[in-house]
């Protein structure tokens, strides 16, 4: 494994579109070549070298390449987006679209991230030590094909629209979440370890949601069917098992309708 270190040298005046900060683009390149990779600040064409000091070396392939950003990226978007392998570590915050459309590899942000973290993700792992804003692991706006695979773990809290149109994969929010969880989902698992304000599973067709805290306002389309013991992400508890969203269409398997499951930790 080879490590490339990017040290921020300047805060972009507009947001920097850092779509080149992925192991796939860095692999096989020298620091000078990496510094010449394209980026956009608004509509202006810039290079990574305009904003970062590049050191270290990249591996031959994305899988052999680790990227470490040694500093704050609060104004840098698209870090690790569309990556297929390798790792990206950010020693600070990052802006929107961290790991969006990601297919493989690992991303670790040690601070907070803005919205659209892991949007339409297909595989790999994202770990955020801080909190995330809105649209964690959701679909691109308008699209009905959301997150398909991989894992997103947010150690802090998250905002609204988590796992919208989710089809697969896992999202774990270790603290509280706001509204709209797994809206329109047709698969995948969302675990919220804290409390949720409401609108959990609206128009959900298939998939699972676990809430270990409280749901302040329950969706009327969910019906309690039983109470079960389950272990999820290292926590063993008794859950009230709901099915829903009863207002939505549901596929049939062997003559039986398949519903989405909501497991709410029993009081």
């Amino acid at each position: 494994m080879a490590t490339v270190t990017l040290k921020p040298t300047k805060v972009p005046e507009l947001m920097l579109e850092g779509y080149s900060i992925i192991p796939d683009a860095f692999a096989g390149k020298t620091p000078a070549q990496i510094a010449a990779l394209p980026a956009h600040e608004g509509k202006i064409h810039v290079t990574l070298g305009d904003f970062f000091e590049v050191s270290g070396s990249a591996g031959d392939t994305a899988a052999d390449t680790d990227i470490v950003i040694d500093g704050d990226c609060t104004r840098v978007k698209y870090i690790g987006s569309k990556m297929t392998a390798g790792t990206v570590t950010v020693n600070g915050n990052a802006d929107m679209y961290v790991g969006g459309w990601m297919k493989g590899g690992k991303i670790h942000v040690k601070g907070n991230v803005h919205s659209f973290c892991g949007i339409a993700m297909e595989g790999g792992e994202i770990l955020i030590d801080g909190k995330a804003e809105n649209h964690v692991g959701c679909a691109y706006r308008g699209d009905w094909r959301g997150m398909k695979g991989g894992t997103i773990r947010i150690r802090g809290s998250a905002g609204n629209d988590i796992g919208t149109f989710m089809l697969g994969g896992t999202i774990i929010i270790e603290n509280d979440a706001f509204i709209h969880v797994s809206t329109h989902a047709e698969g995948g698992t969302v675990v919220i370890k804290g409390d949720v304000e409401g609108r959990v599973g609206g128009q959900m067709v298939k998939g699972d949601i676990y809430v270990l805290g409280k749901i302040k306002f329950m969706m009327p389309g969910f019906k309690k069917v039983d109470q079960i013991e389950k272990e999820i992400d290292g926590v063993k508890a008794t859950f009230d098992h709901y099915i829903g969203d009863l207002g939505e269409r549901h596929p049939k398997s062997k003559g039986k309708e398949i519903y989405a499951n909501l497991y709410l930790k029993a009081a």
Binding site: H40, K43, Y140, R141, G142, D143, W144, R249
Partner: protein, 571 residues
Amino acid sequence: MASGELIVKGGFIIDPTRKIDGDVGDIAIKDGKIVEKVSSSAKVIDAKGKIVMAGGVDVHSHVAGPKVNAGRLFRPEDKLFKSPMGQKGYRMESGFSIPSVFKTGYDYARMGYSFVMEAAMPPLLAPHTHEEIHDTPIIDEGALPVFGNNWFVLEYIKNNEIENTAAYIAWLLKTTKGYGVKIVNPGGTAAWAWGLNCLSLNDQVPYFEITPGEIIKGLMEANEYLGLPHSIHVHQNNLGNPGNYPDTIESLKLAEGVKAKNKFGREQVLHSTHLQFHSYGGDGWGTFCSKAKEVMDYVNKQKNITIDLGCVTLDETTTMTADGPFEHHLHGLNHLKWTNVDVEMETAAGIVPYIYSKDVLPNAIQWATGLELALFAKDMNRTFITTDHPNAGPFTRYPRVIKWLMSKNAREATLATMKNTDKVINATYIHGIDRELTLYEIAQMTRSGPAKCLGLSNIYGGLSPGLDGSVAVFDLNYKNMPKDPEKIESAFLRAACFIKSGEVVVKDGEVTGHGHKKTVWVNVKMPENPQVTRDVSEAFNKGTYTVNISNYPVREYLAPHPFVIDVDVEA
């Protein structure tokens, strides 16, 4: 229109209007028009070893207006990763199946098209349609207002008042700066306001108590009474359903014995659009099959109808039509997002995204059906290439359709990659057809044919002196056509050179100029019809419309570059 002289030198000329097929020669252009010859100082475009055709004419494409724009708003994902970064001097291009107006103009120009007909304009929203047309660079455009579910029309036809129907058409074309008479699911869209549909020619339209057959027949008579440049342009009932082909043939039969009456060289009295969607057999999706042969056997012998294909291109696209009930039905099949709108006394529209997959059997059969229609056609001057953009695929796939039509190998290669190749072969004719269309036939289907069908053959579709100076040069050697069919597609996708009305607007496949687009509309001059005038003003006065009559027309500033075709109707 550009002044100055141009000469396209030494290309293989293909011009079906003069029966020229691959002769090497020059095309001279002066002041935006094709001329016999130009002076020696004319700018030379070298077309040696390349083919030269007139600018393309698209008879049916949804490129401007409220439903197209609703589609753009409704599908942001259609733009994702498909919108190149802006370039200096050019407008932003975005989108794939429902491109921005700028991309629409640029992409048509890159393919060497000079005229595109917007296929369905809701009259009430004509101002918006014209704003978008005006914003579409380079290409000339016209728009067909929809008449087939219009309450005035339904009332007049019910009472057998052809003259009043004609007077209303004349008023509406002038008011909306429209081109001709579009009919979408006659009666069915009106029925949709009651949550119903009309699937056959004999279904009763609720409240109005007339039938789709009577609507088509009545509008056809009114169209010929006026002598409009284009015939009625019909999207028939029962679109997209298995076993619909008998309904299709029955509606085509309505044209039997009707003669075209006009001064524009048009010979047909009915244009049947996106026929692919109307040529299915079977009694359900399990037995779904192509009936292209049966339909074309009828079309081939009935000389006073023209058709366009509506080829499925196997892409992810966006369906949008004034056939409101159909879109609701489609949403029930694919469960994707659906939007629907009712346009007061005139029409409706619906939009649903759709993914045509080569591995889904009905989609693969639809793909074959569209191509078969062309391959069974005897008169290519009555058979036009379309994809009913964006319904069966985006217009940027025309070159791919041309590739499939010109190469059996290309068709077989696509067929071979399908999941259900054998089942597709069993349900269609395509595997047994060896015909490969020629460049001359492609020029008929995309140039001379549609221009004649629209009554525009004195402007577009050919290379005779006096016609519009729109000339497309494609990098294909007439004497030595490429073995690889992909090269046919790439040549037609990006013209080596395109001259639009005397201006070079595309060079080596890239847009080099913004041209001077025109909006073409039809102005019928006929004596005022007091009853129609009274009926229209009454409808507005008593508040049946939500707008005031003074806000209804398309004002001059919305179509600042008009090209008006006058039609005189004697009393």
